[in-house]
């Protein structure tokens, strides 16, 4: 196992091992010189076929803080034969003998395909609506810091579950860490049989008060045009998380970027119970840990599920 494609690649001890490693890298972030020599002389390629600010900058910084040489390639287009050119691109990049390829793609399974074409370790930075495993790891990291343990935590994931790779990876990761997951959203945006991933599903916020953690997903404008919801106004009335709906003890999370006034109210975003900034910070440490374990360590990923 030398790739991170899916949360299914990781057992609970594997996740904990990575997060423990991330704790030590988080400590590096507090130093004046935020750099360790772990990957000196090795090359990390960031291959982003989708617009991304957070994930790409976070991976780039993570690799640089490990002293790797970093090549970042952005190819955001809509060419229909991306599958073909993806293979060509990967073969070209493999000639540089990279230690790792980080890939973000609009296509489900892209990271897995890349892994079959290269000797480098492949990290899935988001493949279509499938998975975003490092986001899930950084969310678990953030929650673990806050709660100590996710065991028995009741986590609600609210919003557009149908189109969300974050939702899928997080349901799996939260479950694996012992949490009790409920997804909530308009019935048009909940995949049929989503319960088979090991979560409850509901279309109303009625029992939101039962949650310890409220994890809100991004609601995209185009869902309205596609008639998944009649209007963002009605969506906001039914599903927006605001300070009136949140209990003071509840933790609020969001993978970003936030649509203010749609899925979250401005007050909720800025409230002390929101961990959104912590999540971003955790991203660098967790991605350092993933790169480190894949390229230097490996015991964590050997503990595959």
């Amino acid at each position: 196992m030398n790739h991170l494609i899916s949360i299914d690649d990781l057992s609970r001890p594997g996740i904990e091992w990575i997060l423990d490693r991330a704790e030590s890298f988080a400590e590096v972030a507090g130093r004046e010189i935020k750099k360790v020599p772990a990957l000196r002389g090795r090359t990390v390629v960031n291959l982003f076929y989708e617009a991304s600010t957070r994930t790409s900058s976070s991976f780039e910084l993570a690799a640089k803080r490990l002293s790797a040489d970093v090549v970042s390639i952005r190819s955001v287009g809509s060419s229909v034969d991306k599958g073909e050119s993806l293979k060509d691109t990967v073969e070209t990049l493999s000639a540089y003998d990279p230690a790792a390829i980080v890939i973000r793609s609009p296509d489900v399974g892209a990271a897995q395909l890349v892994a079959s074409w290269t000797a480098a370790a492949v990290i899935n930075a988001g493949d279509g609506k499938h998975e975003h495993p490092t986001q899930a790891l950084l969310d678990v990291f953030t929650l673990r810091r806050k709660l100590g343990s996710l065991d028995g935590a009741r986590i609600w994931i609210v919003g557009d579950v149908l189109h969300s790779r974050v939702a899928r990876s997080n349901i799996l990761a939260f479950n694996r860490m012992g949490a009790d997951v409920t997804v909530c959203g308009p019935p048009t945006l909940l995949p049929r049989e989503i319960e088979s991933l090991g979560c409850a599903a509901t279309a109303t916020l009625e029992r939101l008060h039962e949650a310890d953690v409220v994890y809100v997903l991004r609601m995209q404008q185009e869902r309205m045009r596609e008639s998944f919801v009649p209007s963002l106004r009605e969506y906001a009335i039914r599903y927006q998380i605001d300070t009136a709906r949140l209990r003071a003890e509840q933790i609020l999370m969001h993978p970003g970027p936030v649509n203010r006034g749609v899925e979250l109210s401005a007050e909720a975003i800025d409230s002390p119970q929101a961990l959104i900034g912590e999540q971003v910070k955790a991203g660098v440490a967790v991605r350092m840990a993933v790169l480190y374990e894949l390229l230097v360590g490996a015991p964590a990923l050997a503990m595959a599920a």
């Binding site: 034969d81 073909e84 993806l86 293979k87 489900v108 279509g128 790779r165 049929r192 989503i194």
Partner: protein, 451 residues
């Protein structure tokens, strides 16, 4: 031999097959026989050792092997004209022969679409030069498969069309289909339907269910198919038209079909080896070989299809052989084209997964693999004296790995690739000619067998 089937004529077979266990439910045969083929016809069946080899005839010792009537595949994509890089008439019919098929029926969704008599005429001529087994052609129902205007169905029938289909696409408009069904009274020919409501299937790439929820792939719900089966069965009944449902994939469609048959509608249906043996669980690995339309469904659907095939509610097996080039399939799942090849593995897959598993008997499987002929008003092949030699010799004891020795098809996108299956085809006679013989037959010093 049969009307509206076209192939390259070659020397008729002269062959004595000895000791084969003949299973032909239509001829009520299930016993060991010698089969004498003379001048491309089955001359005589005799008890083992009773028939002497005539001078000049080859002899094949088939002791321990089975002889079946040649299979008929009512649904293949031979990609000619226009996409010969995927398959052509020669490679496609070579794949058919390698799978024990003695006749196949080709779909018209080529480039250009087979929607006028000139295109069909050139295909018929081409088949006369290139087809190793007889090929029948369907023409499209609507011009360019656009669902807007009828083709010249009567002229297409005169040019050799066995029937009509827009396969690959549904006829979305009920009004359009109704006109085609009415016009069938003039033109004749079965109308075969790919049932899918695009408003429900949307941009789906696999079955909608637990696996699509897990993978984040857009799903195709079963009712995208079953509601159209129900709609078109009602149209067929109203117009007393003859309709065939292509590649049914789910339990709800089977129910709609059974109800239509019970009500007296003149409808028939086929099911594919992949839908009869695999489920959407196979898609979890995101291997695009498992991407086809209709998609692999649940085990409940699979079992409903097997039961319908067993009971005869579904009339026949069809492969929906859909070759695609390697570079096309080697793409992320959502971008890869739909379809799997199937001609070379159909019998072995169904024998291994259904007969050996006790879900279907061997005679029933043989009946259903030949019944595709009747759908298109052709006489199903029989192993009977006087009939043209359409048969295959299969070794049911032998196991082989799919694809290990390559494929006769130009394409490799077989959903059974790498599987161990029982029952390789050793020899195929189609329209009285040797269409295929396994490499081991040619190698094993069958110099005695001047096939």
């Amino acid at each position: 031999m049969l009307p509206r089937l076209y192939h390259h004529p070659a020397a008729p077979a002269e062959l004595l097959i000895t000791g084969a266990h003949v299973v032909d439910p239509r001829a009520q045969l299930d016993e060991v026989h010698d089969i004498l083929v003379r001048d491309g016809h089955i001359a005589e069946l005799g008890s083992p050792g009773s028939l002497p080899a005539p001078a000049g005839a080859g002899v094949l010792d088939a002791t321990g092997k089975h002889a079946f009537p040649g299979f008929v595949d009512p649904h293949v994509h031979l990609r000619t004209p226009g996409q010969e890089y995927k398959e052509d008439l020669e490679t496609g019919t070579a794949a058919a022969a390698a799978g024990g098929f003695c006749a196949v029926i080709a779909m018209p969704n080529t480039s250009p679409v087979v929607d006028d008599a000139a295109i069909l005429g050139s295909l018929v001529q081409h088949a006369g030069r290139a087809a190793r087994v007889p090929v029948g052609f369907l023409a499209s129902i609507t011009r360019g498969l656009r669902g807007e205007e009828l083709t010249e169905m009567a002229e297409l029938r005169d040019a050799g069309a066995l029937g009509f289909t827009d396969d690959g696409k549904p006829v979305v408009s009920a009004g359009m289909l109704r006109k085609a069904l009415q016009y069938q009274r003039l033109a004749g020919g079965v109308i075969a339907l790919h049932e899918e409501d695009p408003a429900l299937s949307g941009d789906g790439v696999m079955h909608e269910g637990a696996v699509s929820a897990r993978l984040g792939l857009a799903g195709i719900p079963t009712l995208s198919e079953s509601t159209m089966v129900a709609r078109d069965a009602a149209l067929a009944r109203y117009e007393d038209a003859r309709v065939h449902f292509l590649h049914l994939s789910c339990s709800e469609s089977v129910q709609a079909l059974a109800q239509a048959k019970q009500a007296g509608a003149r409808v028939s249906a086929e099911a594919c080896p992949h839908h009869l043996t695999l489920t959407d669980d196979a898609v979890r690995g995101l291997d695009s070989r498992f991407k086809m339309n209709p998609p692999l469904r649940t085990d409940g659907d699979r079992r409903a299809l097997v039961e319908a095939l067993r009971s005869g509610v579904i009339d026949c097996v069809a492969t929906d052989h859909a070759p695609h080039a390697r570079h096309e399939k080697e793409a992320p799942f959502e971008r890869a084209p739909m379809g799997t090849t199937g001609l070379e593995t159909a019998f072995a897959a169904l024998f291994t997964e259904l007969v050996l598993a006790g879900e279907l008997t061997l005679p029933t499987l043989i009946e259903r693999m030949t019944a595709g002929a009747a759908v298109y008003e052709l006489a199903p092949p029989r192993i009977a004296p006087g009939d043209p030699a359409n048969l295959c010799i299969v070794d049911l004891r032998e196991q082989f790995e799919v694809g290990a020795d390559g494929y006769a098809s130009r394409s490799q996108n077989c959903c059974f690739h790498g599987r161990a299956l029982r029952g390789p085809v050793m020899l195929t006679l189609a329209a009285g000619q040797v269409a295929f013989r396994a490499r081991m037959l040619t190698e094993a010093g069958t110099g005695a067998v001047a096939l």
